[in-house]
Symmetry: C2
Subunit: 190 residues, 2 copies
């Protein structure tokens, strides 16, 4: 019979981060991550396909939030308004109380080639989620692909600014600013 | 003493493609690829870090061609002119005589998750090569990142159209058209 495992994903992610920081990514196994979280190894693999996935648990939720926010926009929304709504909807993942964790997580990722590759693949998935939601909203193929890349760049730019040591501003405000700045830059290419 | 191994990279890539198509990617080893090409296994690993790399031998050359072309542009070149020059410089890889091979290669990649992931990572490297060359040309951080994504999208779009069964047009012309269309779309986001 399965044990009751409240917040198993979060506990596993948090234990993984501790162990990666202590022993390095290569020196840590999925079994050790589960043990540190007080969970069985089988529980780990019920939640994550492999060790690389454990730090990216939240990314699918962000992609879903992007898409849901765009679906909720009025029919009159412009591509830029759709992107603003999408980026704003990811704010749940970037509250002040999560900042220290996100900063530690990023340092571990930046330090390991395999995790950096996984991050690039997750980034491509997020961009694809944006593109697919923009297509659903009736944008043509080329504009949807382009707007998705712009949204993705704005998201990464806002994220990078949000985790910077000197930053005191909120993610939502930074995302809005990044997107507007990128849209202006885009206009200069036309 | 090392044997003389003319065109070892091309021969290995060609043998790999044959074997991947015959036996599948998973069912083929680096040693078998080398044997088919009439080369030693050690020769394979002198040219490629692993089995996944063998189909992506040309990508670094394309990144270098992008950068060299931008460096050769006059100081007055606009971001869009820099991108046009970069994309045009990749035409060496997409001559008519290479089309059948490129089409077969793409079918093998599309059919395998691991190769698709590798392709996404190579795509990110190409975008980074564009971005870095645009920064060298004095573009600001945000505009360089954006223009690199636009260039990368135009490159992928031109490539997809070039390998389409119904296509009779050349890569260079398609790349020019894609970039202009994307730049117009970009303007509409501003």
């Amino acid at each position: 019979m399965a044990r009751w495992e409240p917040n198993a994903r979060e506990r596993l992610a948090s234990s993984a981060l501790d162990l990666f920081a202590e022993r390095g990514y290569e020196g840590t196994t999925a079994a050790e991550i589960a043990a540190r979280a007080g969970l069985a190894k089988s529980t780990f693999f019920r939640h994550f396909a492999d060790k690389r996935e454990v730090l990216f648990a939240g990314q699918d939720l962000i992609g879903e939030a992007f898409a849901a926010a765009m679906r909720a926009c009025p029919p009159s929304a412009t591509p830029r308004e759709l992107l603003h709504a999408a980026l704003a909807a990811a704010a749940f993942a970037f509250g002040d109380e999560r900042r220290a964790w996100v900063v530690r997580r990023q340092a571990v990722i930046d330090d390991n080639t395999e995790l950096r590759e996984r991050e690039l693949l997750k980034r491509a998935s997020l961009t694809a989620a944006l593109e697919s939601a923009l297509r659903e909203r009736g944008l043509g193929e080329r504009l949807a692909a382009l707007a998705a890349e712009v949204g993705s760049l704005a998201f990464r730019g806002a994220f990078a600014r949000w985790i910077a040591p000197s930053n005191a501003r909120g993610y939502a405000e930074l995302a809005r600013e990044e997107l507007d700045a990128l849209a202006s830059a885009a206009a200069s290419l036309g």
